[in-house]
């Protein structure tokens, strides 16, 4: 039973899914990737991060792949997470939903600057 609803997909959960699109990551890796892809605006704390990971695991949107050390961070073994096909499908549909919203916003000239 998922402890939190994933519809609508929370912002943190969507960012985590996006972070995992390119590669498998451990928790700190996800945090850094999210920070990077949001240009530093979102820095996931451990509580929010692992709470979201748990929800996504329960929703079978991500899965734990293995436990291994990250050579760049030392010898500590870390759990790595991977996007599932359901997760990939969801992240795509969420992105399309946002793209639709963006189109509407553009049509209504809500946004400034043509390049956005």
């Amino acid at each position: 039973m998922p402890k939190q609803k994933l519809r609508p997909l929370p912002s943190a959960a969507f960012q985590i899914l996006l972070a995992l699109v390119d590669e498998d990551l451990h928790g700190y890796g996800i945090m850094r990737q999210v920070k990077e892809q949001t240009e530093g605006r979102m820095r996931l704390g451990p509580g929010t991060l692992y709470s979201s990971i748990q929800t996504l695991l329960e929703g079978k949107l991500i899965e734990q792949v293995d436990v291994r050390a990250d050579s760049r961070l030392g010898q500590e073994r870390r759990r790595y997470y991977r996007l599932t096909s359901a997760g990939r499908k969801l992240v795509r549909s969420e992105a399309e939903r946002l793209a639709d919203l963006l189109r509407v916003a553009r049509a209504k000239k809500v946004l400034r600057g043509a390049h956005v």
Binding site: G45, P46, G47, T48, Y50, E76, R79
Partner: protein, 518 residues
Amino acid sequence: MSEKIYSWFLRLYPSRFRESYGGEALQLFRDRARDEKGFFERLRLWLDLLADLAISVPREHYHFQPEFFGVSAQRLEGIPAFFVLESGSPRPGALFSGGILTLVCVITFSVWLSQPALSRPFRALTSQSRSPASERPSAFRRAPSHATDSTREKSSALRPSDVPAASSRSTEAEAGDASNVVPRQDSRFFPPPPPPPQPQAVQPGGAADTTILVEGKDPGVNAAERHRVIDGAIENLKQYYVYPDRAQKVSEGLLAHERNGDYDGVTNGKTFADVLTREMRGASQDMHLVVVYSETLLPERPRSSTVEDLVRYRNALEQQNCTFEKVEILPHNIGYLKLNAFPDPSVCESRARSEMRRLNDADAIVFDLRENRGGSPDMVMLMAAYLFDHPEYMYSPRENTTELSWTRSPVPGNKLADKPAYILTSASTFSAAEHFSYDMKMLKRATIVGETTSGAPHSGVFHRIDEHFGMGIPETKPINPFSKSDWVAVGVEPDVKVKAADALETAIKLAEIKLGKK
């Protein structure tokens, strides 16, 4: 140091979260602490962490929806099963804390219960189902605000038994008006029955556990009800009182008082009943007349005893060893018998005889009736028979004098007929126990040691006047061969007056002196 502080913060999360992700959260903290050095970086790290804690801790506690673990998968329809919320067993520390907390709660609750003022509402809830029969709600005994203990006791003596009238003597009474006649068995005796499903209201005029208990205050009596009660009392007196001339005198007295407006200020039911009793006794010089007031509704026609009543009564007596609380031989071969009622011989005769046989070789016998609440006159006769070697007349104010008024002495094999006898009494010694004590005293067969007995008005037959008032009227003319009037309203005076608590010791000393002289 910082890591230690953060690990303390992690304790704010639920245990299931800490178990799953505590290590990783700490790892992530270490990673960030390693990468984010410098004052501002660190400051931002801690601000992030605190903001994260503020958001995620409540969410973890609030949003968690427990899942059932365990046997749910194997559960079959209709078969009871256990479910648990946590898959792991509690930590020893949690068990210890839980144990301490439970202990504190139990002690607090016990202390609270022992404070009568604080725990009264709770006691009121529990007492109905757990209290012994002597404390069960009944028509008379639940009216403390209107009666002193002694008057309440006196009133309750008129309660007919809720047990079947099985003795031979009861047939005479039962042949009369079935709705109003008291079984000849002493109604005062109510052995605690097995826990009844509902509290019972024992009514004057018959057992009536279907009666609605009227709780609360005395509704009071108005002029119309006072008139109705006086009319009803006069009618009953004329119809049933064994002395018609006195009935006439009492009636005239009551009417005269009513005409004079002497009762106008009496609005309390219990007080009115007491006033009428006093005046009736004054006019008739008969202490057996009594008017009683019941807060509970008196049924017009009492429910007759059922097989279940009989079974319940029998079981209750057997469970209590027929109220023979103690039967033993004391030093100097003094027999001691503590009897807390005179139970119906139809159930308890063999028990009584076997207990008396146990004392047969004693050199003296002490009957401890200090807690005896009365019972059957037939049992009084049965017990008395052991103290005589010839049939002896036993006076009972409720019985017409018949051949049954003589004890069935001698009892075959009995050796107690000529042994010194002592009867211990208290202010609670009641009714049939007073009957036994009074006759033994008058016959000079036993020495009464203790306190003056309660003076129960046991002799009247109960007649309902209306839904709250009833009266006891003597319908028999027993012969009292003794010069002194009986115990009704005055009690039996002891030969040796000591506190009830000291009575046994005193009686033993008296017996020892007596046996030493022999």
